[in-house]
Subunit: 455 residues, 2 copies
């Protein structure tokens, strides 16, 4: 796709503006192709704000994709160094891994040294949209959070936009008046951006600069078509804090900011929690969709319990599958290392696989065309399983190597690749083997006994 030719022709129009002008951009056409949707539908959804195509004009390597209610459920992988751990090369390696394991977008959350260089290296090769949280880089340039300024934040946002970042988390919804609502929470504030801004606001006795200067943020984002991901700086960080007054007060502000993004023809999505028990998931999605006018919802998990550090890819894949089913458009993965340390390559892989499972389960449950396509994959794998076509079953698996390695642990010989059993049951007990040996003609001859429920 000739993204740059297009950008050169019309470098001041966002996908949203183009859509509202009735134009199907190359990016929209590509999204339509990837999603199996009509191009006009993609355009209308982008115009309506229900679908975003994070596609910075300067991100040459990008293969455009869409995030929204009518698209497949997407997954995001967070990578990035921390001040204590990792390096540029390791992060580029994590990007490659993320793309290999099916991340639809990748956020570079680097903090510490060499942030722009790391991002540059990532953008040069990333075919998926790259997201950032600009306040992290801003903080690197000052000594303490209190030293941040609105000008510095805007400067970093502009530099990252010029570099080609496709979407940015902007925590403009954390307002001074919300902070008292967090004071007695069990886990206070657990968003890095939210924590920094809270400290800044109280110290300066001032409103959130990202809120106060939001029009300037919008101007930068409109210029380069950066999609804004409205950060939920006050998301609950524990089951005890889920669905509380602070979370929903911020959500109301986010709803207001969605409208301001749209008025400026800036694409936006809305970030969501966090830690939410199972029975509150559906209401969380529905509330976001209502308050934020159906702007795409992008949740972190949610984790359905706090008690399993080391396994939070699982605690959160449970929540992610359920919110995906109820209408969340993108699921930000959580790795096993969450709450404990910076994820390494293996953690990235484990997080992504858990989230591909969650997103696929959500697509299946939503039904429609994406659900039907998802169901075909399940059917093909199960058909291969029933046919004892082990090689095909492995090939169709989310992680073929792991599936084969687990099988081969006990029955490695090539002979067993066509065997009508595995080491779980062995041949005599294998139900699928026994089923295949049923004498169906004889059963039919027992015609007198008509099957129940078959008439």
């Amino acid at each position: 796709m000739e993204r740059h030719a297009f950008a050169a022709d019309d470098s001041r129009r966002t996908q949203r503006r183009l859509a509202r002008d009735g134009i199907v951009s190359p990016e929209m056409a590509r999204v339509a192709e990837r999603e199996g949707l009509q191009a006009q539908l993609v355009r209308d959804e982008v115009a309506r704000g229900r679908l975003v195509i994070p596609a910075n004009l300067h991100h040459a390597a990008l293969d455009p994709m869409g995030i929204g209610l009518r698209a497949r459920v997407k997954i995001n992988a967070n990578i990035g160094s921390s001040p204590t751990t990792s390096s540029l090369d390791e992060e580029v390696e994590k990007l490659a891994l993320s793309q290999r394991w099916g991340a639809d977008t990748v956020m570079d959350l680097s903090t510490g040294k060499r942030i722009p260089e790391t991002r540059r290296a990532i953008l040069d090769v990333a075919t998926v949209p790259i997201g950032t949280v600009p306040i992290y880089e801003a903080l690197e340039r000052v000594k303490r959070p209190e030293d941040l300024t609105a000008e510095l934040l805007l400067e970093v946002i502009a530099e990252q936009a010029e570099q080609g970042v496709d979407y940015m988390t902007i925590h403009a919804g954390v307002r001074l008046e919300h902070l008292a609502l967090c004071r007695h929470r069990v886990t206070g504030i657990v968003s890095r951006g939210g924590g920094l801004l809270a400290r800044w606001m109280v110290h300066h006795e001032r409103e959130n600069p990202l809120y106060e200067r939001f029009e300037e943020v919008l101007a930068v984002c409109a210029r380069h078509d950066v999609t804004i991901s409205l950060g939920d700086g006050l998301r609950p960080g524990s089951i005890a804090d889920a669905s509380d007054a602070a979370q929903f007060a911020e959500l109301d502000t986010l709803g207001e900011l969605v409208q301001r993004c749209w008025d400026a023809d800036v694409q936006c999505m809305v970030e969501g929690p966090g830690h939410v028990p199972l029975h509150q998931l559906q209401e969380n999605v529905e509330r976001q969709q209502r308050v934020c006018h159906e702007a795409p919802f992008y949740t972190l998990g949610p984790l359905v319990t706090d008690v399993a550090p080391g396994y939070d890819h699982i605690t959160s894949a449970i929540g992610a599958a359920v919110v995906g089913w109820h209408g969340t458009s993108m699921l930000c993965y959580v790795t096993p290392k969450e709450h404990l340390g910076l994820p390494d390559a293996e953690d990235v892989k484990q997080g992504l696989i858990a989230y591909r499972i969650a997103a696929h389960a959500a697509d299946l449950a939503r039904g429609g065309a994406h659900g039907a396509r998802a169901a075909r994959w399940d059917r093909e794998l199960s058909q291969a399983r029933f046919d004892f076509d082990w090689r095909r079953q492995f090939a169709l698996a989310v992680d073929p190597d792991t599936a084969q390695a687990m099988h081969d642990e006990t029955l490695a010989d090539d002979y067993f690749k066509t065997a009508e059993f595995c080491s779980m049951c062995g041949p005599k007990y294998c139900p699928m083997h026994n089923f295949r040996d049923v004498d169906w003609e004889r059963l039919e001859r027992l015609g007198a006994r008509r099957p129940v429920g078959a008439d």
Copy 2:
């Protein structure tokens, strides 16, 4: 608890009979204590059939537990050798592991050699109820499935009951008239017992012997107070087959058998699927509860997709959490090795942890007294997290060693056990650290700005 003294006094009465006679048995008292319930409530629930206490009179080592709607959600681990893999010692080791990682019950599904010896070794040390599927041992004694006889099945059931098995899966619901409904399924029959019986029935042109001789099965179970777990031999083994006519035809028979168990004063629960997409989970639970008169539901997963062999502890933990929330009483774990081979010790651990997460998330979502207790655990762990009390956070985790190992991968020194950050964010970015540094008194002095939502 003096189980044997009690058994000697009154060896012919099941927990169900005792409850219906208004007696609170030592087993019921113990379950009440473990669940934080009134002993009378436990008795009434057992009498009503909504709670089972699998407690064979001959299982001396047992610490009685209860399975039912008013109890905490329970998890079961399947262990047992297969004809190709494992040994007696390995299986006893898996039992110890299962108890260590929180299994509430354990099924010994051994096939192949030395089945009774393996079970004896397990029963001697198991404090949790032990379940079996007697048809497996029966099949070991004949050459082919067709050689099974009703007499042999009854003989094995009686021997296992005398040995002390607390509950047995009896596939009495698979009827000849259901089989035609399975013929064109994607994965046919995936229950080992179901597959064997289907082959037998068609070969002999006879009804399921476990159905025909169910009164004799009941007599044995009543004598030793074996709880019957009504097997779902026709459970769907793929998303394509979920909630189909075969599954629900068998469920209707299971509902009839529940009543027959109760009439014979035999405790029973009902096994459920299998593979079920997210949006069909709730209706599956509600249908079982209605058709089976609220007898405890005991599901295998369910897996919400087929496409992730190697990760089916995750695909199924998603389904398990949701069905647990909607009223399933016990969740049979699925290990990462499902569909691929016999689980080893590490698979058992991974399966159990995924299921402790699912069961805990379900308890949380159900609310009530168990939910409140579950929420306290989340709160304590999150409080430790917010306090940067790393040691306490690890101690409270489902798997303390793994949590600590992951943390220590990057920040191993003892110094970091009280550090106000981890390698994910480092100190400057840590939101909880920044939150703790907020000057709350200053915020309060900004009194003019009243928090939104706080009035």
